[in-house]
Every structure is written in C-alpha cells, then in structure tokens.
C-alpha cells in the first residue's frame, strides 16, 4: 500500500473563508504513525453491518508553519449515511475530542478519516465541517485520510486536503476539490520492537504470537543475518565461477561493508572480553546471592516465631530472630560492597 510515487503538487488554494490572511501556500506533507492506522483498521472491523464505511477524527501535531502534519492518534465517530443524507454525531465528536485532549494535551485536531477509498458529496460535506472555522482546523486545511478496506483488494491509504470549489454559493457547503498530498508511514525507535512482534504473527494461521524472550529474539536476528550472508556469499561465489554477472558497484559496496570490521590486537580483545564477561557473571552471581539472602531473611522472620510458645518467650525469640536477620543483612552488605568494587572496575 505504500504508494511511493509522488502526487502532483499544486499550490494550495485558499481556504473556505479566503478573505482572511492565508500565509502559507506551500505543499503539505503528512506522516502517519502506525497506531493511528491500526486504530482505523480496528474501527473498520467493528463497523455496523449495514454500513459500508465508517469515519473518525484524526489527531496529531502540526509544524509551526502548518506544512507538516503528523497523524498520531484517532478515534471513531458514529455517523449514519443514506443515499440522501449523512448524519455525523457532533456532540459525540466534541465530547470525545475533549476527552482525548485531556489525556494528550499536545495533540490537536488535524482532520478525519474514512474507511473507504471513495470520495463523494458527503465526503465534501464532512470535509468542510472539519475544516470550518471555530471547531474545525481552520486556518489550516483539514487532512482527509482514506483507507480502503474492501475484502480481497489491497488496503490502500490516500491523504487529501481540500480546496473550495463553488458552483453557486448554496452548493459551496457540500462541494470541494480534494487534492491528493503525499504521505509517509513512520515509526519511532520504541515502536520497532512492538512492530516486530506484530509482524511475527503475520504468517501464523491463528494470527497470534507469544512475546519472545531476549534469547529468542537474538536467535531470530542471528538467523536473519546468517540468511543474508548466505545470499551474498552465494552471489560472490557465482561471480567467481563466472556464472553470475559481476558488478563493480556491488563489489565496492561489499568492500566498504567488510572494511567496517574493527582491527584490534588479539591481546586487547582477550583482555576486554575477559573483563566484561567477568563483570557480567559477577553481577549475575551477586544478584542471585542477594535474592537468596533476602529469601532467607524472609523465611527466618516468619519461621523463628513458630518456636515461640508464649508471651514471655516471644520477646527472647524476637531478639534471636533479630540477630539472625542482622547476620543476613550483614552478608548482604558485604555483597553490596563487592558489587561496588566491581562497578569501579567497570568504570576503569
């Protein structure tokens, strides 16, 4: 669905109330974050049976000059559509907007989405509603994102802004010119790991996956690297056997990649390796020692009193127990100090 070809860029025509100052006419670029897209698809799945498309509001951030829009969040808005008329629940839209703004005060209203690729009179009407003065996005244009969700066809997303087009003054409210604008799907560093898990489920029949442990994710990463190395070395040996066509550019690229391998003295490697592996093992050992000590301390604290029989004895056993606990604690302190030294070692 990632449509990579550029759309025609037009200078943006003036907004609906064009008498006011409209400073920027630069083209607009839109960034979509995956969670907004996921949310739209979720809404598409949950649409009422008798409705072909559902709509919702897009929230996000806009750069200062208004030429870059980032869609970060969205929520569904109920609406009904018949052949003659369309009804959007304005109160719902307003209260939901207020609720969202309380949790995400930095996000603003940027536009709306629909779950079908179609643009019609109602689209224009809703577009004008979202772009209006007051509650809408004016003076910035409202962004319209369509995600086609027809079964059996590719999911295709398009983004538009609009320009007023008037035949007559009466018809201005339900007509507008949709201008396609380019968009990108971007995700941040933090989302990578989440998307990896989600993508891992795509080839499963039940569409579910377990959360991988650290070791498992290392394994998959290594397997992927091995796979890539395999492909490259296949190609290289084919070139050497004069079976595949050689390419200087590829050769150069591979050379560059290989020269990235660090040149270090074996003795240095040996030393660094030993230092680090010792650090790791010592911390692991100490962490487990501390865990055992604390477990012991807890057990002693609750076990010692079972020996106590009466009130008078309670005091003395309590004292003993304190002593035992004290011993446990001192051991832990020792552990703490050992770790402190270890950390110094790391810092050296």
């Amino acid at each position: 669905m990632a449509d990579t070809q550029s759309f025609l860029h037009l200078a943006r025509p003036l907004g609906p109330a064009s008498v006011g100052a409209q400073p920027s006419t630069a083209p607009l670029s839109v960034t979509i974050q995956p969670q907004a897209l996921f949310s739209i698809l979720d809404h598409a799945v949950r649409r009422p049976q008798d409705q072909d498309r559902v709509i919702g509001t897009l929230l996000g951030t806009r750069s200062e000059d208004g030429t870059e829009v980032e869609i970060r969040n969205c929520y569904a808005v109920p609406h009904t559509e018949t052949t003659e008329q369309v009804e959007v629940d304005m109160d719902y839209q307003k209260s939901m907007l207020a609720l969202h703004l309380r949790a995400n005060p930095r996000e603003v209203l940027v536009g709306w989405y629909a779950t079908s690729g179609e643009l019609n009179t109602f689209s224009a009407l809703i577009q004008n509603f979202y772009g209006q003065q007051g509650d809408g996005t004016w003076p910035h244009p409202a962004v319209h994102l369509t995600v086609s969700t027809i079964p059996g066809e590719d999911i295709e997303a398009r983004t538009y802004i609009s320009a007023p087009i008037g035949v007559t003054a009466e018809r201005a409210a339900d007509s507008c010119l949709f201008i396609p604008v380019p968009y990108e799907i971007k995700y941040g560093e933090a989302e990578k790991s989440g998307l990896e898990i989600i993508a891992a489920a795509k080839d499963k029949e039940d569409r579910t996956t377990n959360i991988a442990t650290d070791i498992e994710s290392i394994e998959t990463a290594i397997e992927q690297v091995l796979d890539m190395l395999e492909r490259v070395s296949n190609y290289v040996s084919n070139v050497l056997d004069e079976e595949a066509e050689p390419s200087t550019a590829l050769g150069q690229f591979l050379m560059n990649a290989l020269s990235l391998a660090p040149k270090v003295e074996p003795a240095d490697i040996e030393r660094d390796f030993n230092n680090h592996i010792q650090d790791v093992l010592v911390v692991s050992y100490l962490a487990n020692t501390i865990r055992t000590q604390i477990d012991l301390s807890n057990r002693l604290a609750t076990a010692a009193l079972t020996l106590g029989t009466g009130d008078a004895l309670g005091g003395s056993t309590g004292g003993q127990e304190g002593g035992q606990k004290e011993g446990g604690r001192q051991d832990q302190r020792r552990g703490g100090k050992g770790r402190g030294q270890n950390r110094q070692q790391q810092q050296e």
């Binding site: 979720d42 808005v77 692991s284």
Partner: protein
C-alpha cells in the same frame, strides 16, 4: 508459584492495536510512569484486550496530601477519582462505536522492571476488588524494550495476597498463618499478541514486492545507495537485540539492587526497633506483675482486699508491629531484578562469545 485453579483467567491476549498504543504512550512520557485503562472481554478464561486509552496526566487533583510529585500522580492515576469518571465517560463513548465496553484492567510503564511497589499493588487491588475479579495489570518495560525484544507482561494479584491486603494484616503472625510468601504476590499470566484479519493483510502488503522486470546492475556506488528499488523491509528485522552494550545495563541493575537493599535494611531496622521496644515493655510488664503478686501475698497475709492483677493492660501499651508489606514487596522486587539480570546474562554472554570467536577465529 502460580495458582491458576482459583483464578478464572488463564491467559491474556492483546490486540496489536493495544501494543502500539501502550508503546506510544509509554515512550512519550518516559521516564515518567504512564498509566491507562484497558477494555476488552473475557472469552472462556482468556482475557482479550482489544482497546486501550491513556489516563490524563495533567490537572489530576492530588488524591492524598503527601502525593505531590508528577510521577506519583501518574502512578496513582488509575485509582484517582477524576480518572474513574474519565474512564467511565470514555467507555461510554467507545461503546457507541462497537468497541468492547468492559473495563478489564490497566497498564503501566516501567523502567528496568522497577514496578513492584505500593502503587502498583494498590491500583491492581483497586481493580481486582471492584470488577468481578477479571482484571489484569499489563506492565510494559520501556527501557528493556528498546534493547531489542518487546517486554510486556500481564500480572494479577494472587488470591491469598488479596485476602491479606483486604484485611491489611501483614504482621509476622498473620503471614505465618496464611503462608504468604513474597513469591506469591503476583500471578503472571501467559500473554499472546493477536492480529485482526485486516491487519494481517496489511502486514503482508507493507513490504513492497520486488519489481517484476529484470533489473540492471547499478553503475556506481552512489546509484546503489539511492536505488529506489532497494528492498525496504520495514518491519521484520530488528537488529537492536544484537547490540552489545553491557555496562549501562549492569550499572543500572546494580543501582537498583543497592536501592532495594537499602530499603530492606531500613525495614529490618524498623522491625528490630519494634522488637526491642516490645521486649522492653514485656520486661516492664512482668516486673510489674511480680511486684503486684508479692504485694498481694503480703496483703493476703495482712487480711487486706486484693489488688486486681490485670491492671497492666491499662498501664502499659504494647507497640504496634510494623507491617511487613513493604518487606514483601521489596523482596519481590529483588527477585524481579535478579531474574532480569539472569536473562540478560544468558543473552549477553552468548553474544560476547560470538563476537570473540569472530574476531579471533583461530583461538575459537
């Protein structure tokens, strides 16, 4: 340690949407704790979490006088009154657009597994006592997720802990009776991530398919780098987990462990203080009792009326035993750290040996 028989929930299944929303919210507010509400439903013992929304973090009126920092406010958000109203309002709105409108728990973000504290317990207790028992706490570890694999876990409070917490009894006696150990505070539920059909088809479309026609070799290195046909697989390979950074993690773990030991120490001191004062009071009482007894003996000899012997209950006040809850939580936290370090060690030593034998192939 987990006791599944008494719990109606056996597993937790979260939608991809929920994963993304939690990650977004947590990383936005990091390092402040982010909390939010989960909605979904329970199907045959599997809790399906289908949507989520964050709790507002600003303008939350302080629930208690002593909670004034922003971090505390955010952590206490799930049980703040304003947020319950917010949550109900939001769920009412979500119901109108066919989202599963049952509150099934809450999520929190954490850093380095540092989530076992009174706030988490109190929030989950708040949910678990109110909502017919079918609620979970999702814990998303932000700092460990950037190291490679996603770290989200689902927890519930164990039934025995619930009982103790309800009575707020964490004395040595009650712990002996209930046999509650720190390992039994949380029950972890297996967690799976689930994609909808439509999302699956989107994921299959996302890597643009390679061009059909035969491609020419690029004429130069620069052309290769700018080649529009270069495959971009946006999702799957995540080589963050091959990253070989060791020291920051170890240092952080050590700091956290030291902090826990410090806490443990303070708590133990409290207990010792209690025990000393208890012993002191008891010696005083027994001294008083023997004095009263001898007095009564002499009074009986002089045929005077006897003095009551149980007056000590009014005269002396035994000190209150401090709650062991903090100790329990602290121990659980240490266990969490220790396991975390174990997991890290397992991964990193493998990576280190791999690197070593790569750089020194002959000494393998």
């Amino acid at each position: 340690m987990a006791d599944f028989k008494e719990s109606p929930l056996k597993a937790v299944q979260i939608e991809a949407l929920v994963v993304m929303k939690i990650i977004k919210h947590s990383s936005q507010t990091f390092p402040t704790v982010a909390t939010g509400s989960l909605v979904g439903m329970d199907v045959n013992g599997t809790l399906q979490i289908t949507n989520t929304f964050p709790f507002p973090t600003v303008d939350v009126p302080a629930t208690d006088g002593h909670q004034d920092t922003a971090a505390n406010l955010a952590a206490a958000a799930p049980r703040a009154k304003a947020n319950i109203v917010y949550q109900n309002e939001m769920i009412r709105c979500l119901r109108e657009v066919n989202v599963d409108a049952n509150n099934v728990g809450w999520y929190t973000s954490t850093s380095m597994g540092n989530f076992v504290n009174a706030n988490t317990i109190e929030n989950q207790f708040f949910y678990q006592k109110e909502m017919n028992e079918r609620t979970v706490a999702l814990v998303h570890d932000v700092s460990r997720s950037v190291q490679g694999s996603l770290n989200v876990r689902a927890y519930r409070l164990s039934p025995s802990f619930m009982i103790s917490y309800k009575e707020n009894k964490f004395t040595t006696d009650s712990l002996q009776k209930s046999g509650l150990r720190y390992q039994d505070i949380f029950v972890e539920l297996p967690l799976t991530v689930h994609n909808s059909h439509i999302l699956t088809s989107l994921l299959h479309q996302l890597p643009t398919s390679p061009p059909k026609e035969e491609l020419q070799f690029p004429p130069s290195l620069a052309a290769l780098k700018q080649d529009p046909n270069a495959p971009r697989n946006p999702l799957a390979p995540n080589f963050e987990s091959l990253d070989l950074s060791i020291d920051p993690f170890l240092e952080k773990s050590c700091d956290l462990l030291l902090e826990s030991i410090e806490n443990h120490h303070t708590e133990l001191n409290n207990h010792q203080y209690y025990q000393r004062s208890l012993a002191r009071e008891q010696t005083k009482i027994s001294a008083w009792q023997s004095k009263r007894k001898s007095e009564n003996v002499s009074r009986a000899a002089a045929k005077q009326p006897l003095l009551p012997e149980d007056e000590w209950q009014r005269l002396f006040k035994l000190p209150q035993e401090p709650s062991r809850l903090e100790l329990l939580l602290n121990s659980r936290q240490v266990e969490q750290y220790a396991r975390q370090v174990d997991g890290f060690t397992a991964g990193v030593s493998g990576k280190m040996f791999a690197v070593k034998s790569n750089l020194l192939p002959n000494e393998g």
